[in-house]
């Protein structure tokens, strides 16, 4: 038998997940549609006062992105759990924590990146200052991978359960709070012309922390869920 290196397995997994996602395009668009819908509902609910919408824009976009990311978490492991390929993943000789990272990366590319692409459009809907759109995308770039990484732990814990939906949101949302706080705070500070480097550094450190710390509990939780 030919021996495969870790990076070969990593990229094979990544490629497989991306391919699978592109074959089920409808699933790909669902979180995105949800994101757009939620943002559209806000002006209808609060009235289309430009000033009000402008001040609320970072919060609205980020909360909607957070909920969309949460809704899409199920796709990280669910189908693999159902067809048994998750067990094969755990039986692989390479460390599960790194392979898990490949799956999370695929998930982020499928769900996080589209959110980033559509966010500027929604920012214009809400009348966010054009100069701030770059910053909004930057916070999403730093923040959404953290959402996927943390979400992977929670979904790994609940993947064996039939009705994990509401439980998942209860498990995940408290952990999402710091990202939400610093991302929206950065945009709000920039609105009033203050420097935001501190917030961006903190968001980057969250990302590094999440990359280094979450794969282990995810792998451990998967082992538990399959035991």
């Amino acid at each position: 038998m030919k021996k495969t290196t870790l990076s070969q397995v990593f990229f094979a997994l990544l490629k497989r997940d991306l391919l699978l996602a592109f074959r089920h395009r409808a699933e790909l668009f669902n979180p995105l549609l949800f994101f757009v819908l939620v943002v559209t509902l806000f002006p209808l609910g609060t009235g289309a006062d430009t000033k009000l919408l402008q001040t609320m824009a970072p919060g609205i976009i980020w909360v909607a992105a957070l909920l969309a990311a949460m809704l899409s978490l199920d796709t990280i492991f669910r189908s693999d759990f159902e067809d048994g390929s998750l067990e094969l993943l755990l039986l692989n000789a390479h460390p599960t924590s790194i392979l898990v990272l490949a799956k999370v990366l695929a998930h982020w590319l499928i769900t996080g990146v589209p959110l980033m692409i559509i966010a500027p459009l929604l920012a214009l809907f809400l009348g966010l200052d054009q100069d701030l759109i770059g910053l909004l995308v930057l916070t999403l770039l730093l923040g959404t991978p953290v959402l996927s990484l943390i979400g992977a732990v929670a979904i790994a814990l609940t993947v064996g359960l039939k009705r994990g939906g509401i439980l998942l949101s209860l498990l995940v949302l408290p952990f999402y709070v710091p990202v939400l706080i610093f991302a929206t705070n950065a945009i709000e500070m920039a609105m009033s012309g203050l420097p935001v480097t501190a917030q961006l550094w903190i968001l980057s450190s969250f990302l590094l922390l999440a990359i280094t710390l979450t794969p282990w509990p995810t792998a451990a939780a998967l082992k538990l869920s399959l035991s």
């Binding site: 732990v153 814990l157 609940t158 064996g160 359960l161 009705r163 994990g164 439980l167 209860l170 498990l171 949302l173 408290p174 952990f175 709070v177 710091p178 706080i181 610093f182 705070n185 969250f206 710390l213 979450t214 509990p217 451990a220 939780a221 538990l224 869920s225 035991s227």
Partner: protein
């Protein structure tokens, strides 16, 4: 050393031992609570700024301390359970959650009741209250996860894992929320170099804190005993225990 730990942590031995401890723990809790309540409600002088309303502090602050303490204890027990596979530690982690959630809820409600006369509103989005609310969600997550997983052995290990992840996140949540908003009074008790709180107010507060800690152990032992009985219902020691009970009743 490990032998001693494994012996003490074996379910039948712990069940027996905790049965002996429980009446004492209950008595110590009641004595400490009486002392703390006397100190807090009668002995401590009136606050010159907040009047009598500050007496809620004797519930609010110890409850808030306990809410954090129990979460850390839960994560610690969970870690011990995961690493050395000690059943008792897993059970302790699981049984801590409802007690901790109770204290968190208590801290929130008393905070709200204290806030109404002081801030003029039942709820203010201040940093510590918000962090406490998030802590309550963390506890509820732990409890619902335990209920949701049918196999209790797997469930307690999942809970231990979640508690461990949560304990890393607690300081992050705390500082994020602090950054987000600060409205609360500065920490008055930890400033030992320059005590800004009257000693006659501080002593009852510390007594209440100790009382709540002993109470936690008391309530925890009671809960762990139920959980052990349920999990080990088919084991020999539970059957023998039931036989003894029957004989003593006859």
């Amino acid at each position: 050393m490990m032998k001693f730990i494994h012996k003490t942590a074996s379910p039948p031995y712990f069940y027996h031992l905790s049965g002996l401890w429980i009446p004492w723990l209950g008595m110590i809790t009641l004595l400490l609570l009486m002392a703390g309540l006397y100190g807090g409600l009668i002995y401590a002088p009136t606050d010159y700024q907040q009047g009598e309303s500050y007496r809620i502090i004797y519930i609010h602050v110890p409850a808030a301390w306990m809410s954090l303490f129990i979460y850390i204890a839960m994560a610690g027990a969970g870690a011990i359970g995961l690493i050395w596979r000690i059943k008792l530690a897993e059970t302790v982690a699981v049984c801590s959650a409802p007690i901790g959630a109770g204290f968190t809820l208590l801290a929130l409600v008393t905070g709200s009741l204290w806030g109404k006369p002081m801030w003029g509103a039942w709820w203010v989005w201040d940093a510590r209250l918000t962090a406490e609310l998030l802590l309550l969600f963390l506890y509820l997550g732990v409890m619902s996860l335990y209920v949701a997983i049918p196999d209790k052995r797997v469930a307690s290990r999942a809970v231990a894992l979640l508690a461990l992840v949560g304990v890393v996140n607690i300081p992050i949540i705390h500082y994020s929320v602090e950054w987000w908003n600060t409205l609360h009074q500065g920490p008055t008790v930890t400033k030992f170099d320059k005590p800004s709180i009257d000693l006659r107010m501080l002593v009852p507060l510390l007594i209440m804190a100790v009382a709540f800690k002993v109470y936690y152990v008391w309530s925890l032992f009671l809960r762990v005993r139920v959980e052990l009985l349920e999990r080990e219902r088919n084991s020999q020691w539970v059957k023998e225990l039931l036989k003894q009970n029957k004989e003593s009743q006859a």
